[in-house]
């Protein structure tokens, strides 16, 4: 096993790291004048990484660096989404970055490194790789949350995220060390074979908590509303999509590959986390007036739905998680970009009331966002419904009827706030004039809405098949 083979087998991450380091040099040498160049390089690199991940998806199990790094079709599937979403969220954020006065060349670099971290933690086959991947994702995230450093809420968001993230990292690391101590290895393969012991179980719980924090599942979601509300909207667009997908997928991957033998121990815990996420997410969003906060709670609830698939176990749940998250993040991406498009005097608007009369002012965006909301809320025929159906089916197959019932009730409650947004856009009259939208953003909204309906709805079967083969491989 030489270095060349290792790099070939870990091609997406290797390429991203090399290009990212090169871009850091370019930025350091050229300075602020290289903003556009570096952004272009980053988008191209992420898109290329997505293509390379697609190649990994097609080539079965790939090992590198002495099996510290393993790419299975399951993680490759998630990585395709991760890199593609990162690329798109970077692509569409150009104008809003400029307007928020945070258009600096470090921004694309941090997104790129965060995506790299997501890829590493997904491909981790050892708790050490996992931890380093999580940190590689987290550090740029803290900085990104505070990126608009002169803005007090942004700085607050960064600080809160950092402190709580450090706490969660500590718990994750403590869990890893316990598991290492009680199994004698950090490798997933060895852990999976190990006998059950109290130390291993407790370590597993701590790892679950650390990962649930990353995925913003309740009750470890506490940072999410504040960070989403405070961080700049382009950053939240990224947070809510690529890392979210990666976090849920890596959660599933760790549970399924390292702790697969102890499913009876972790499944009830995941089920509780899923139920709490759905309930808190749905109820918390009901009374929000801030759109970003509302979407934060919505993302908590949706992670809960995805975790139903995790609680259901590997055989029935794995593909459901991938399908659910893939559909969800596309919808969320569109929604956040939709928020980006709506500005008044250069400032992004935030409350639900700011959407009043959008259907008149920007019919295309309003219509697209309505489709996206329908998808995220899981109303047929939009694709989100099929995702929800997949996780509910998985839950039922695993005899988690109570959890599915909680999910159904939460879905119904969630309609209360989703439809409020649609109502504001479609029915309420407007009292202000909005700025012109960037065509890239409008195209992204419309593209995402076309993707969730009808494209994904029509191709849902092939998506399900692809996800199913990803878990079998």
């Amino acid at each position: 096993m030489n270095l060349i083979t290792d790099l070939q087998n870990s091609a997406p991450e290797a390429a991203l790291a090399i290009i990212g380091l090169a871009a850091v040099l370019i930025g350091a040498i050229v300075g602020e004048g290289s903003r556009l160049l570096i952004r272009t390089i980053a988008v191209a690199a992420l898109a290329g990484a997505a293509v390379l991940a697609a190649q990994q998806y097609g080539s079965g199990r790939l090992e590198a660096f002495g099996a510290l790094y393993v790419a299975t079709p399951f993680v490759a599937f998630a990585k395709i989404g991760l890199y593609a979403l990162a690329a798109i969220s970077l692509l569409v954020s150009g104008k809003s970055l400029k307007e928020a006065a945070v258009d600096r060349y470090e921004y694309p670099l941090l997104i790129l490194f965060a995506a790299l971290g997501g890829g590493v933690m997904l491909s981790a086959n050892s708790l050490m790789t996992l931890y380093l991947g999580v940190e590689t994702l987290s550090l740029p995230s803290y900085v990104l949350a505070a990126f608009r450093r002169d803005h007090v809420r942004s700085a607050e968001a960064g600080l809160k995220y950092f402190v709580l993230g450090a706490l969660a990292s500590g718990l994750l690391l403590y869990g890893c060390s316990l598991v290492y101590g009680f199994t004698g290895s950090a490798s997933y393969d060895v852990i999976a074979e190990a006998d059950l012991s109290i130390g291993l179980t407790f370590g597993m719980v701590l790892i679950i908590i650390g990962l649930a924090f990353k995925a913003s599942a309740a009750p470890l979601h506490v940072w999410t509303p504040d960070v989403y509300a405070g961080a700049p909207t382009p950053v939240v667009t990224f947070f809510a999509t690529a890392p979210k997908l990666a976090a849920v997928a890596v959660f599933a991957n760790v549970m399924f590959s390292a702790f697969n033998g102890h499913e009876t121990d972790w499944s009830p815990i995941i089920a509780i986390i899923a139920a709490l996420s759905m309930i808190i997410g749905s109820l918390g969003a009901l009374t929000q007036s801030s759109l970003k906060r509302l979407l934060a709670y919505s993302s908590i609830a949706n992670v809960g739905f995805a975790l139903i698939g995790l609680a259901a176990g590997v055989e029935v749940g794995a593909s459901a998680i991938l399908v659910y998250m893939a559909i969800y993040v596309v919808g969320t991406l569109g929604l956040f970009v939709g928020l980006l498009t709506i500005r008044k005097d250069g400032e992004p608007l935030d409350t639900i009331d700011d959407l009043n009369g959008l259907a008149k002012a920007k019919p295309l965006v309003a219509f697209g966002m309505t489709v996206l909301i329908f998808s995220v809320a899981g109303i047929p025929p939009a694709a989100g419904f099929w995702g929800k159906l997949a996780v509910f089916q998985a839950g039922l197959e695993a005899d988690l009827l109570w959890l599915v019932l909680v999910g159904v009730v939460a879905s119904v409650i969630s309609l209360g706030y989703y439809l409020r947004v649609v109502w504001a856009m479609m029915v309420k009259p407007s009292d202000s004039t909005l700025d012109r939208s960037d065509w890239v953003e409008v195209a992204a909204v419309v593209g995402a809405s076309v993707a969730v309906f009808p494209v994904l709805t029509i191709t849902i079967q092939s998506l399900l098949d692809a996800a199913a083969s990803a878990t079998l491989g």
Partner: protein, 197 residues
Amino acid sequence: MPLIAFYILGAIVALSAVLVVAARNPVHSVLWLICAFFTSAGLLVLIGAEFLAMLLVVVYVGAVAVLFLFVVMMLDVDFVELKQGFQNYVVSGAAIALILFAEIGVIAASIGPGSNATMDPSPGADTNAEAIGAVLYTDYLLLFQLAGLILLIAMIGAIVLTLRGRPRAKRQNIAEQTGRKRKDAVELRDVRPGEGV
């Protein structure tokens, strides 16, 4: 003998850790932290990991703790004010801590004689510096590089959050400075009296 040393050092580590939190004066807190680092290094020496002990002293005591000391002194944080609400949470905090300790105690109690983790300070080498060096660039190349990358990101992050380009600040431009010619700098004028320049 090593066992006695272990207990003594362990007690000191635990005590200094408590004092880090309990000390009223923040400078004292940092000093207790340094104490904890030193004694931890001693624990590492006890198990034969001299290289790690060295690193701990050099990096944590020499760099990190001293940096902390500077920051604490410079910022002059009013810790007394920060601790104002402490009493409100002391009961619940203590309860949580107690349960957590109990849980960890149960886990510790479960470690039997046939524990899986074995200890070898310098596997396959004479010294542990050599052993670490041997795996760092081979088996754990990925992790090592990733750690480096994380540090790079941390650096970039720190720059992003703190560096401010000051448009009015005067900076030295060496190229301009050295490329200066006499005729650019000095102009001879023949000034007649009573007329000005």
